[in-house]
């Protein structure tokens, strides 16, 4: 066991993957000499060489498309997209090729790519550096989509993603890169497709993932002071979603709040709400509540506090789910 930041835990996961399988290659902008703009790949090029940790030309379609070719050739590429908002030049390769090649070739061609994406806001950045584009990918058949919230998960899930024979979009909560936690490289990890009940509770199920897990835990502590018992579920996987774990929780609490940074419309929260309404209709005591980023482009830094769900907005959502006085009391639908 060592205490590592989430960023360092990702780095140690990459290091293990590179040592364990010589078909693993890393590709990305500034990942070599610089070690990545967040230093996740720090030291890896020095230790594994320029053929395995590759600084690519500045082109995301190039990075993903070249990884597709490497995968055809039996490699297991791990691509770094520098920031969430820069994934779109590579979007076509991901959606039209990476996601569909296995299907198109009747399973003959595997695409064991991992595409790492630092995502989310809260760091006071300029445009395109704070986005949460996970729903686009969860909407795309053929891709697995996961995200981590602790250093241990960062390490274990990344290794599992790289070992997966399916393409995995691996979303890294960049504002939590500096969060520290114990990491056991040899721990038997919870499979990346499983959700985790992070803290148990009886009154409300609070479902979240990635950067907002920490905020949800703060909300659970704050609510406990008010005598409200929140069960926090960290989804970890967004495609597939571990609905068994979420349903079990909702059957217990009867109330569901979902929170994520991404916009509300067409988001992961909508999928959770719809499926849980379907699977737990007779257990629900109230309509599922979504607390999300608004349906606006990620705003300027001085406005991000008015975009991101925070403790107060989450607690307001909990009050709504419980039928307590809340900001929408008396609101006519």
């Amino acid at each position: 066991m060592t205490e590592l930041t989430l960023a360092k835990a990702l780095g140690s996961g990459l290091r293990r993957a590179l040592s364990d399988d010589d078909k693993v290659v890393l590709l990305g902008e500034d990942i070599g000499t610089l070690g990545g703009v967040f230093r996740v790949t720090d030291g890896l090029q020095r230790d594994f060489g320029k053929d395995r940790v590759i600084d690519t030309p500045l082109a995301e379609a190039g990075i993903i498309g070249m990884a597709v070719g490497l995968a055809f050739r039996g490699y297991r590429p791990v691509c770094e997209i520098q920031f969430d908002g820069f994934i779109y030049p590579g979007f076509d390769q991901i959606v039209a090729q990476v996601a569909k090649l296995h299907y198109r070739t009747a399973g003959k061609v595997r695409m064991p790519l991992t595409i790492r994406v630092p995502y989310g806001g809260g760091i006071g950045a300029v445009e395109h550096h704070s986005e949460s584009p996970e729903a686009y990918f969860a909407h795309t058949a053929g891709l697995r989509v996961v995200t981590c919230s602790t250093p241990q998960d960062a390490h274990s899930m990344l290794r599992e993603a790289i070992a997966s024979d399916d393409p995995v979009l691996f979303f890294e909560p960049k504002r939590r890169y500096w969060t520290k936690g114990e990491v056991d490289e040899d721990a038997t990890a919870l499979p990346m497709g499983k959700a985790r009940v992070v803290t148990e509770g009886t009154d409300v199920t609070l479902v979240t993932y990635g950067p907002l897990v920490a905020t949800a835990l703060d909300a659970a502590v704050a609510a406990a002071d008010d005598g409200i018992s929140i069960e926090v579920v960290d989804l970890r996987s967004l495609s597939p979603v571990d609905f068994d774990t979420v349903s079990a929780s909702v059957r217990k609490t009867g109330r569901l709040v979902i929170t994520h940074e991404a916009a509300e419309s067409g988001g992961i929260g909508a999928e959770i709400a719809a499926t849980l309404t379907d699977r737990c209709f007779y257990y629900l005591e109230a309509a599922p509540v979504r607390i999300t980023g608004f349906d606006v482009p990620y705003p300027a830094a001085k406005l991000e506090d008015h975009f991101l769900p925070d403790l107060d907005r989450i607690l307001d959502g909990v009050d709504r789910a419980l039928g307590r006085v809340n900001s929408l009391t008396g609101w006519s639908a």
């Binding site: 610089l34 908002g85 006071g124 349906d295 606006v296 830094a301």
Partner: protein, 372 residues
């Protein structure tokens, strides 16, 4: 020497330049002659060059001030243009008001020359707005952060100008790294196919964050354009006069129906990529030192002094003026107001959107709950 006489090359000792690398003022400030490009600046007087010199001093001064503001916590981030002053000023000062610029984030000197107000340069970096200015007021779009995207926009704007029968030109500014993106290559295809009056102005500052230009291009970047059917010029980007000559020749081609031109301005990013960057991880200090000797300001200064145009007195007054501008810049930065919370919902659509209107009124109710 009278300061109103055109800045002519001194033939004695002047070295003939190959057209491949246009240089009119060498790093020591010696005026070189160039058959092809001299005519494009034959009208530039000593006074005009001194005025360009003043621009160079001012943009460097405000760039330094912005870095200081970032260090003091007043800006979230700043992308310094230190070292690229001549490439930006020399090109931007040749444009007409009805021309239109599409740039990336580093072109703050271009924006300054286009007449962008000082605090407007800082809104985005202070995080108070998503963009700094009205593009149509200054003939310059607000910067593209997505690398290379703006080159296609410039191409489309230029095609629009030909449809409208006007001789305005659009200029796309982008970096060496950007030339690897599909968008930039597609822009060149489109510009060539439609004979668009666009200038592709690439500042090859040798770096794309930590990646040296050698990773993006195995030959000089300017060599790529002819393959698309676009004539190109490789110019000393640290030579304000040569940049001006190259840009004027490209503008002339565009205005007279000759279509696009690609200009590679060879320069050097003397600062970090942005204030978040640590170039000590990847820059060889010896190479950086070599580029310091090719500084864009020193050579103009040396030339103007040798011509007797720049006196100690004038230099001091330019410096004083630069300090004044920097003070105004700083004050403007500190006076920028934070946006209203509910403005987060503004301008997403040109017309009312019912879903968003609902979110806005719900958030308004939520905020009002705190006052109760």
């Amino acid at each position: 020497m009278s300061t109103t006489v055109p800045v002519k090359a001194q033939m004695s000792g002047a070295k003939k330049q190959t057209p491949e690398f246009v240089q009119l003022l060498d790093p020591d400030g010696k005026r070189l002659s160039d058959e092809l490009y001299d005519p494009w600046v034959s009208d530039v007087t000593g006074d005009q060059l001194a005025s360009l010199y003043e621009d160079l001093i001012i943009v460097r001064r405000i760039d330094t001030e912005a870095t200081a503001l970032q260090r003091q916590g007043e800006l979230g981030l700043w992308p310094p243009l230190f070292g690229q002053e001549a490439a930006q000023v020399g090109s931007a000062r040749t444009l007409r008001p009805d021309d239109f610029v599409f740039s990336s984030y580093r072109e703050n000197a271009v924006a300054y020359c286009r007449g962008v107000k000082l605090p407007d340069l800082l809104r985005v970096w202070r995080g108070t707005a998503s963009s700094g200015w009205d593009p149509f007021e200054v003939g310059m779009a607000t910067p593209a952060v997505i690398i290379g995207a703006q080159t296609l926009h410039a191409t489309g704007y230029a095609v629009g100008c030909t449809f409208d029968g006007v001789d305005s030109v659009s200029v796309a500014y982008f970096g060496d790294g950007a030339t690897s993106e599909g968008d930039v290559n597609e822009a060149m295809v489109f510009a060539a196919s439609f004979n668009a009056p666009v200038i592709f102005f690439c500042q090859n500052n040798q770096w794309a964050i930590s990646e040296p230009v050698g990773l993006q291009a195995q030959r000089p970047i300017a060599d790529r354009a002819p393959g698309f059917g676009i004539p190109s010029i490789r110019v000393d980007g640290n030579d304000v006069l040569a940049v001006m000559a190259a840009t004027r020749s490209a503008l002339d081609r565009a205005r007279t129906g000759g279509g696009p031109t690609f200009i590679e301005a060879v320069t050097y990013r003397r600062g970090p990529h942005t204030t978040s960057d640590d170039p000590s991880r990847y820059v060889d200090p010896l190479v950086a030192k070599e580029w310091e000797a090719r500084d864009p300001i020193a050579r103009v200064e040396a030339f103007l002094r040798s011509e007797g145009v720049l006196t100690d007195e004038l230099a001091a007054s330019i410096q004083a003026r630069a300090d004044e501008v920097a003070a105004e810049f700083r004050a403007g930065c500190l006076a920028l107001e934070n946006p209203e919370p509910l403005s987060v919902f503004d301008n997403v659509y040109a017309t009312e959107h019912s879903g968003l209107a609902r979110q806005k009124s719900q958030y308004k109710a939520y905020l009002e709950g705190f006052d109760k």
